[in-house]
Symmetry: C2
Subunit: 183 residues, 2 copies
């Protein structure tokens, strides 16, 4: 089974409260993304670290229970943030940053992670591949290189995709549209 | 005409002399890339700036007359390099860095650029689109956003592709495999 690669841009998820502080209201969908019910919003935000800022960072909606900022390792280093690699949703000892728009500012404590590479997997593909939620697997690239420590996340709304940051994508020379196979 | 988007990983091109210094010989092809005659090499190199290092940066072969290091703006900022945006091949007042492998080290003076976004264009597509080499055009994304100041580069060996850095790709939420249209 060929699993499509999707390289991850830096992006932000917002809580309802933080969306109101930063934009005065709810996020505005621009277009849907592959994962059911999620969308790219028209809004963007500045991420401020101790040594620099990323402007015009895109936000994925809808609002979540917690604000979460996802960077690559080099992004975090660039703006002076000490950020751990974590699975999305696990904000234990996550990093902190400031989010700012012309409308407002949020101190996003324990919000900021380097998204650990993972296999997003639909329920039906998980059954086909005999995978369980939070399994740790290895995948092979089309060049035959092996990536270990890939965490499996299964959810009925997920499209089956292999997600990695742009740093890892550069190292393995992977692009969105390439594929990997399970080992 | 739909023009495919290819987001650009940080990468290095080497002169023959620098390849010998860094690896003791010529680059080894791992696999070909879309532009005729070019390949991803099996070798990788560390790029050292004033404030940090990128390890395992991939090298595109074959060797060129000049060593050229291509970064995104946030990459350059991350490792403390003052680097101008330039068209590939234009190294006037380019930045400098150190390239290092276990085999050797090169002071890569006037080598380092942020690759300006550009339309790689085959000769036949250029005729179809009525474009001339170094024309400056605008393109529209599938979301209807407009990117201006796109430089056209025409060469018989080129696949027709719109190239932009990871920073711009994150801002416009573009992935390799998306497409843009000429305005």
């Amino acid at each position: 089974m060929k699993i499509p690669v999707v390289t991850q841009h830096r992006h932000v998820h917002l809580s309802e409260e933080d969306a109101v502080t930063l934009f005065g209201g709810a996020l505005t969908p621009e277009r849907s993304i592959a994962h059911k019910g999620q969308f790219l919003s028209t809004e963007s935000v500045s991420i401020i670290g101790l040594k620099g800022t990323f402007d015009r960072v895109r936000i994925l909606g809808p609002e979540r229970t917690q604000t979460q900022v996802e960077l690559s390792a080099s992004d975090a280093f660039a703006i002076g943030l000490d950020v751990p690699a974590r699975m999305s949703g696990d904000l234990s000892r996550a990093g902190s940053c400031i989010l700012r728009t012309p409308h407002g500012e949020v101190k996003a404590k324990s919000s900021t992670i380097i998204a650990a590479r993972h296999l997003h997997c639909s329920q039906s593909d998980a059954e086909k591949l005999q995978l369980a939620h939070l399994d740790v697997i290895s995948v092979a690239t089309q060049s035959g290189e092996q990536l270990n420590n890939v965490i499996v996340r299964i959810h009925p709304t997920y499209a089956t995709e292999f997600h990695l940051t742009k740093d890892e994508a550069a190292e393995y020379w992977l692009q969105t549209g390439d594929h990997v196979t399970l080992l």
